[in-house]
């Protein structure tokens, strides 16, 4: 296999390209998750986001998530691309595509992938608000994650 299934990029993400990586004759279902930059969070307006990653380790952790999915859903195939750098409102930050023979596995594995990304993949976003900036998850600020990972509310 010469195409890379797990990628960190500083370029805009092509949804179609990620989907094509998991297309195959065995697939009867493909689910995609597209994470985009939200303008309003609890009444606060975001102007743009800056994503940063420990790129080599982030790709390694994405591959690990792929391994975990292979163990839980052996028939699923997953591809993930996450973008870093400056992203404006509405731009795509992450795309996860999962194919499987039947829909249940494709939905479940896709949901699993995004939750794991938010736990173990070393990527950080810096909010640029109208009135300042803040690293999300920065424990020095009010947005700290007391459990060391995002809470249920952040996952919606």
């Amino acid at each position: 296999m010469n195409e890379r299934l797990f990628v960190i990029t500083d370029k805009p993400i092509s949804l179609e390209e990620v989907i094509q990586k998991v297309m195959r004759p065995e697939a009867g279902a493909v689910t995609t998750f597209i994470g985009t930059v939200r303008e309003w969070t609890k009444g606060k307006r975001t102007l743009f986001l800056q994503y940063e990653a420990y790129v080599s380790m982030a790709e390694k952790m994405l591959r690990q998530i792929g391994e975990e999915i292979r163990e839980k859903w052996p028939e699923a195939k997953v591809a993930i691309t996450h973008r870093i750098g400056r992203l404006d409102i509405g731009e795509i930050a992450v795309v996860i595509a999962v194919s499987s023979p039947h829909r249940n596995d494709a939905y479940a594995a896709n949901r699993y992938a995004i939750e794991r990304i938010k736990q173990i993949v070393p990527i950080w976003k810096k909010e640029h608000w109208e009135d300042g900036t803040e690293w999300v998850g920065n424990q020095l600020e009010t947005k700290a994650y007391p459990t060391g990972r995002p809470e249920e509310e952040d996952l919606r």
Partner: protein
């Protein structure tokens, strides 16, 4: 020597992305104490990765290790 990497707000607090430490602290725990004192930063909730693998406090360090300080992640 070992190499230290800092990210996100830790990088801003330390003022460096990469720091070369001439000596090798015995364990991750020892290194964390040193980093906390040297840069006057809190490492609460900060995870440590040694050579791109998450590591516990008791893990021992070897010359040439690359140690990353990883604040709570916020990708996705």
């Amino acid at each position: 020597m070992i190499t230290l990497l800092f990210f996100a707000h830790l990088q801003e607090a330390v003022g460096e992305e990469r720091v070369i430490l001439p000596h090798v602290p015995k364990t991750v725990k020892e290194l964390k104490e040193e980093v906390k004192q040297r840069y006057r930063i809190s490492l609460e909730q900060v995870m440590v990765a040694v050579n791109e693998e998450y590591a516990g406090d008791e893990q021992t360090l070897q010359p040439g290790d690359i140690v990353a300080f990883i604040p709570p992640v916020s990708g996705g």
